[in-house]
């Protein structure tokens, strides 16, 4: 570890705050259980579609802004420099992309009662292979997403406990609490805990932002520090950097908009007015949260030069840890911020896990394994599956710690494949002529191309996963869209059936 990095020592008071917070989460889980109206998939996975503006906005906010935003994005900003300002644009673009397909998807969901995004896929295309492929890719992406949150959980608790708890103890503690409240109250408990977590996150971000721009000479001093230690990180991107910029916009803007747990929040809205107002508010959130992560990385660049890629994932902890001894008020503010980081991590992981359970239960178990399954049986199966997935992911989190994989690498593994589903939703809600075969061919070929580019690097055939500065997943996506459009246009138009005489 770099010698200039401050030791973060929170003391027992911070542990007490964390403990109190976890008790509140469990209480909300129990309350969610008591408020259940009926034992149905809609009630458990969508909270009965009863969320008004305040809860919907806070659950969308807490779900979209994860441990990755505050830890991983700050680390990426540290590694990449000022060109990572692109993160603000792509997080806003996610909501803009919602404006393209969400109005139709919401309208259909209200009419036909969708529970999962893949309900739409089957309804629109009527293809079993396409539905199964979509579930597989979405669950793959979500499982990676949860794994990323587990890694962040371990780092977060390790820091807030001042080393009294290890990485794995932190993971097990938070996962245990999360599974209990989620299994008790389903989406209703998750959304209510999200509301608390989202409020903490909003307040925490405001505190950090104020602290960063006022302490130690603020941004001006940081900029001078960066100019002295790494001036190249102040420069605007060169030609390859520009291609990489556009590639990042496409992959994250289109990919993050497909997160099933975000789509299910569209289904969980009480009505269109709540949803429209929530999304309108969400479009401005990156200017606070994502900008903040960017600034943390920028300031860390001036204060702690020379961190490795793995260490850079902890720059948020280092930057805030450097402020902790300033005053008792600052100590408690920073403790609150760390509680907000833990909150952000948990709120994202619980939502993603709930979504995995719902897709397995509704789209696989009910459709292909036991069509006669009752609501009670499906809920038990969904919870059991989610617990099983979580057990596997905990082992993988431990492995990722041992192999020193950085958070950013995990994100790439997730979105490169998930973004291949973009044509299903973006074109699927508008273009009636597009058949399931075209979409299936596009997804398979796009995913294969992405895999070939990744495997080529592993096999030593070529050096980069981003040929010409463009990510493998975006090359796959371009091929995917070309196949979808080309296949649809070149396919002979369907003739009405005629009767031979």
């Amino acid at each position: 570890m770099n010698s200039s990095v401050p030791e973060v020592t929170f003391g027992p008071g911070a542990l007490a705050v964390l403990g109190g917070y976890l008790v509140i989460m469990l209480g909300l889980g129990l309350l969610g259980r008591l408020k259940q109206k009926e034992r149905s998939l809609r009630d458990f996975y969508l909270g009965g579609s009863t969320f008004g503006f305040a809860v919907l906005f806070l659950t969308l906010f807490a779900t979209q802004y994860s441990g990755n935003t505050l830890l991983g994005f700050a680390g990426r900003s540290y590694q990449q420099g000022t060109t990572y300002i692109v993160s603000i644009t792509f997080m806003i673009l996610v909501i803009t992309v919602f404006m393209i397909y969400a109005p139709r998807l919401f309208h259909l969901a209200r009419r036909f009662g969708y529970i999962t995004p893949t309900d739409f896929v089957y309804h629109r295309f009527g293809s079993h292979p396409l539905r199964i492929l979509c579930v597989a890719l979405l669950c793959w992406g979500l499982a990676n997403y949860v794994l990323e949150q587990l890694v962040a959980m371990g780092h977060g608790v390790e820091a807030i406990s001042g080393g009294r708890m290890t990485f794995m103890q932190g993971v097990l503690l938070l996962v245990g609490v999360m599974l209990i409240y989620e299994s008790l109250g389903g989406m209703r408990a998750v959304a209510w805990t999200d509301a608390v977590q989202g409020t903490l996150l909003l307040c925490g971000c405001a505190v950090i932002l104020y602290t960063l721009v006022t302490a130690d000479g603020g941004l001006a001093a940081a900029a001078e520090g960066v100019r002295a230690t790494a001036p190249v990180k102040l420069e605007s991107p060169d030609a390859e950097g520009l291609r990489s910029w556009v590639s990042t916009l496409l992959m994250l803007g289109l990919g993050v908009a497909l997160y099933p747990h975000a789509v299910q929040r569209i289904f969980a809205a009480k009505g269109e007015r709540s949803l429209r107002r929530s999304l309108a508010a969400m479009s401005f959130m990156p200017l606070g949260t994502t900008l903040l992560a960017f600034l943390i990385g920028f300031i860390a660049l001036s204060r702690f030069p020379g961190l490795s890629e793995l260490e850079s994932d902890k720059v948020t902890i280092y930057v805030l840890g450097g402020l902790i001894d300033r005053s008792p008020v600052m100590y408690w503010l920073i403790v609150m911020v760390f509680a907000a980081v833990v909150a952000a991590i948990m709120s994202t992981a619980d939502s993603a896990l709930l979504s995995i359970g719902s897709m397995f239960t509704k789209d696989i178990y009910k459709s292909y394994m036991r069509r006669e399954a009752s609501a009670r049986e499906m809920l038990i199966v969904g919870k059991t599956f989610a617990w099983g997935v979580m057990a596997i992911l905990i082992v993988m989190a431990w492995v990722s710690l041992e192999t020193e994989s950085s958070i950013w690498l995990l994100i790439k593994l997730k979105l490169e494949f998930m973004v291949q589903l973009s044509p299903v939703f973006m074109l699927g809600v508008y273009w009636r002529r597009m058949p399931a075969s075209a979409v299936l061919a596009g997804i398979v070929l796009g995913t294969l191309l992405t895999l070939v580019i990744w495997c080529g690097v592993v096999a030593g055939l070529w050096a980069t996963r981003s040929p010409w500065g463009v990510a493998a997943g975006v090359w796959g996506l371009l091929l995917n869209y070309a196949v979808c459009v080309g296949w649809t246009l070149l396919r002979p138009a369907e003739q009405p059936a005629t009767v031979r005489t």
Binding site: K37, E38, R39, S40, L41, R42, G48, S49, T50, G52, T82, I88, T89, I92, I95, T96, M99, I100, P103, R104, F106, H107, L108, R110, F112, G113, Y114, I115, Y122, H123, R124, G126, L219, A220, A223, L234, E235, S236, P237, D238, L242, W245, V246, L249, K270, G271, E272, R273, S274, R277, L279, A280, S283, P286, L287, L291, F298, S374, A375, R432
Partner: protein
């Protein structure tokens, strides 16, 4: 399981999608009353903002000029982000109307559309 647990709902009463397939019904129901893409300026406005937000028109040396502790060129991207957020929020609030009856259900503070369907 405590005796206060809510009753298990009859599966047939759930207002949940159960693999029905009728393309005609699907396509007849797909269009909301209004949506952003029906307004011709929306997509071009988004594309123009995105093009301006990418600093392709600036030389790398522009990083020498700072304002407010950040390179001047990053402020262009931040302002474009603000513009994109504004257009998106406007689209969400003004260009999207679902046209179904859920606004009424929100105003009543009562059950949801799904609940109403279940009741009928």
């Amino acid at each position: 399981m405590g005796h206060n647990a809510p009753p298990v709902t009859d599966n047939k009463r759930l207002s949940e999608y159960r693999d029905e397939r009728d393309p005609e019904v699907f396509w007849a129901a797909v269009r909301p009353a209004d949506e952003p893409l029906r307004h011709r300026w929306f997509l071009p406005a988004v594309v123009v903002i995105l093009i301006v937000s990418v600093p392709w028109y600036l030389p790398p040396s522009v990083g020498d000029r700072l304002a407010g502790g950040l390179p001047v060129w990053t402020w262009i991207t931040i302002l474009c982000g603000l513009a994109l957020a504004g257009v998106t929020a406007f689209a969400s609030l003004r260009l999207w109307r679902d046209g179904s009856d859920e606004a009424g259900s929100e105003a009543r503070d009562g059950g949801t559309v799904a609940d109403e369907k279940d009741a009928t």
